[in-house]
Every structure is written in C-alpha cells, then in structure tokens.
C-alpha cells in the first residue's frame, strides 16, 4: 500500500521563458509526455491559492504553465527566481484528493458519425472500440483551445489515430472527440479536425457558473456508453 502522506517528488527542471512582455511560461517539456503533463499539473496545484506578487492569473497547458504578470509590479527575472524556489520547495504532505467523474456518452450513429471509420482503422468493430475506449479512466490533461474544451489522455499506443484531413465547420457542445492518442470533450460549439465519436449531456462549460468549468486538470474521467 502506497504511503499517501509521502510528498510527491519535485517536478523535473523546467525551462522558464518569456511569452510576450507580460507572460512567463514554465515549460516542463516541448513534446507531449505523461511525465511533462504530470509535472505541469503538480506545479499548477502548487501555485493554487498562492500566486506570487504581481501575478494576476495562471493558465496550465498540456506541458507548461503560463503566469500572467504585471511588469510594473514584478520583473521577469525576480519572478523566474521565485518560480524556481517554488519548484524546489518541498510539498506539504496533504495531497489533494483525486476528483473522479463519470461521463455518460452516446457512441456512434448521429452522435458519433466517425466511430465506424475510426474503429475500422484500428481493426476493431464499433462495439470493441467503445469497450476499449471506456476500459480505463482517462486523466484531464488540460483545458484549452476553446471555453471548457478538455484534452483527456492517454490512450494506449495501439489505440491511436491521426486527426482528420478535413475540418468539420462546427460540432456542438458535449461532443466526444478522438485523435492523437487522446479523447476530448467540447465545451462550446467549435470547428474541429478531430474524429467525432459520440456525444454527452455533460456540459463542462456554463458561463453563468462561477467558476465556469467543472473539470480541472488532473481529474479522472470514466466514460460509460449509454444504451
């Protein structure tokens, strides 16, 4: 049994670069990997509730965290120094409880017009594809691209297809997408080059809520097929 009170090891040494004149980007990788994504999530959690002086907001991405700062209040070098100190500091033992969500999905048919084709590409029947897709929980890797759009991963290496060559001009909120070893749920109507495999009633984004999204990076999602 794992010792839940043990502090998680500090994330790998990130690269700290400016992004424009009011952004500091902490990059845990330049390609998408499990390790870089987990380090990103861990660092974003460390910043939660204790933003450095002069930082107005943070934005965790797939493998990086953006800190928006006011250069009239803190210089880039000083902020970079504080970030390095935070990364090196030991984490308090109290780990945040893992949040789990169940997402009920109508797979295939009108809700998922690309399901048959994607399954065939992988040499699977539609039913076998859905079973494989839902076999293991996925982690919310990040929210980005559009309001409440969540990237979820990772699927096993033999369960990967590239994106479509043709972009669909619009898919509605609650669309389940599949490409590049990930699944994604749309929070609003968006154009997409990902494969459309299903639809859920779950709405991650509602601008009348505060905060406007439900899912956080690091949350665990279990997908269930609606009959």
């Amino acid at each position: 049994m794992a010792d839940m009170s043990a502090p998680t090891p500090p994330p790998a040494n990130p690269v700290i670069v400016p992004l424009g004149d009011q952004g500091l980007l902490v990059r845990f990788g330049t390609t998408l990997s499990e390790e870089a994504n987990l380090a990103t999530i861990a660092f974003a959690r460390r910043l939660q509730g204790r933003l450095p002086e002069g930082v107005s907001e943070i934005d965790p991405n797939l493998v990086s965290v953006l800190l928006k700062y006011d250069p009239r209040r803190i210089g880039f070098e000083r902020l970079a120094g504080e970030v390095r100190l935070l990364i090196g500091a030991p984490v308090e033992a109290k780990a945040r409880k893992l949040r789990r969500h169940k997402i009920a999905v109508s797979f295939g048919g009108q809700a998922g017009p690309d399901l048959e084709e994607v399954a065939a590409t992988l040499g699977l029947s539609a039913d076998a594809f859905v079973a494989t897709h839902n076999a293991r929980p996925l982690r919310v890797l990040t929210t980005g691209f559009a309001p409440g759009f969540v990237y979820c991963g990772f699927h096993p290496e033999n369960f990967v297809v590239p994106r479509r060559t043709v972009v669909r001009p619009s898919v509605p909120a609650g669309t389940l997408l599949f490409a590049a070893g990930q699944s994604a749920i749309t929070g609003t109507a968006i154009p997409t080059g990902w494969h459309v495999i299903g639809r859920t009633e779950f709405r991650n984004f509602d601008p009348k809520r505060d905060p406007p999204t439900i899912l956080d990076e690091g949350d665990e999602l279990t997908f269930e097929a609606l009959p």
């Binding site: 992004l19 424009g20 004149d21 990086s64």
Partner: protein, 301 residues
Amino acid sequence: MTAIRITRAGPLTTLQDAGRFGHLRHGISASGPMDRVAYIRAGAWLGGAGATAIEFTAAGLGLVVEGGPLAAACDGGSFTLHHNGKAMDWPARLMLQDGDVVEIAPGPAGNYGYLRFDREIDMPPLLGSRATNVVAGLGGLEGRALRRGDRLELGARERRTMSLHPRAVAPEDGPIRFIWGLHADLFTQDVRQNFIAGTFVISQRIDRMGARLEDRSGVFAGSPILSLVSDAVVPGDIQILGDGTPIVLMRDHQPTGGYPRIGTVIDADLDRVAQLRPGTEVSFEPVRLATAHVLLEAGSR
C-alpha cells in the same frame, strides 16, 4: 430611460470593456478593445465614462438617441463624424439629446473606433465583463456583433473621475517591435534574419482573432511544417501557419495553439497593429524584454 438605437453597424461592431481577465485556465481569452489606448482616450474625453464602449470597424456606425441628455465621446483611427447632419472634428465629445442622430462614416485611417458614454450600458456582465468574444459567442449583446435595430439601454451617470489621457500613437510610425518568441529557435538563422529585414503587407483578412500578413518575398515559404505540442497563446504572438502565412494574433485569439510562433509583438505596439489597414506595408524590429517593459511603463503614464 435613456437608450441608443443602432441604425447602421459595420461588420464586427461589438461591445467591449477593458476585457474579461482571469479565465484563461477555462479556455477563455480576455477579448477587450483592439486599440486599447483609443478606448481609454474615448473615456478620458468624458472625465468619467461607463466601462463598456461600442467598438466599430472601418465601415462606421449610425445611431439615434432615445431619452437623454447624455454625453458621448469617440476616438480611434480617423473617421468622418456627423451629429444631426453637422460635420464634427475627430476625435470628439458630443452632448446628445432625445432624437439626435450620430453618423460615423469611413475616414482616412484606422480599422477600429470607440464610442463611449458618460454612463454604463445596462446589461449584466458575464464572468465579470461585458466584452464580446465573437469567436466563443460570449458576452456583449447575446455574444454577437451589434446590428441594425439593436437597442442599448444606458444606466445612471458615472461619477466624474480624474482620468489619464494617454498619447495617441500613429500606427505607421516605424517598425512593429516584438520580442523573440517561444519557437524562434525552430526557425533557421536565415529565416529569422529575413523576417526582420523583410517587409510584409497587411492582408484583407483582419479581424478580432488576428491580422494575416502577406509574405510577398516568401520569408516563410520554405519553412518546414512542424507538429508542435499545443501551448499557451498571448495577444501579439506572431504565428506562422502551415502554408507559411504569418498572422499576428489579436484580442479574441484562441487561448492555446499548435503553430510555431517566431515572436510576440510588444504590448505597447499591439494597438498599432490593430489600426493598420489592408495594403499597408509593415516590418518588424526585435527588442529586448527590458525595452518592452520600459515602453509599457511609458505608455501607461
């Protein structure tokens, strides 16, 4: 009840306040005025203005006042203004009465202008802001651009305040300054050199998401198509699309992107990019981060 009724709206006329900040992690970029200094100046003419402005585009705007009296001011670019048929200077401060007609017609320069009032536009803010994000369909009036027939009710008079009146900057005054970006090292030394030595042209495809540039000398023509991990995007990022088209990302940018970004236009120069009209030649000059900060500080005084 004091209100204004829109009688004519060019494409992508929107309501904008300073912006919807603090929601990047939810996938929401801040929006806000394309020419922030012009927006601030329009408010400063009133010495106490509602935060929400009408941002109009090069085709201009027409409106009729209901109720009143109220004070309004406009600034940004150079438009042709008539108040009840009488030609006015630009920028301008107007005292408006019931039934007054304001006509803003295309002028010699600029893509964006701002009309502000001495009171707030009476509609509930969304996530702390009334700014319209047309791409995401959020905020403003039903998340959309304004159109003919829209009626905007106005609230109580704002308290008069001392406001700073920042200096207007001519958009064509020298090269657009930038700092080298997230993916600058993915471009060859030659491409980087040609980027700062070359001249680009503002294309017809400019909107609140971004300004596409014409790369007539083919600086980015041979650049390899890179598959990059999606990463944070900020306003001013100079992104190179797969076909080599450079695009300067503006206020309604997507919050993340996977195209390489060679640089980021400094905050002090982003208003200038917004006001450059299609066909205008533009070049870029790299500056150090410290220089960008000095210019930001100077601009905020």
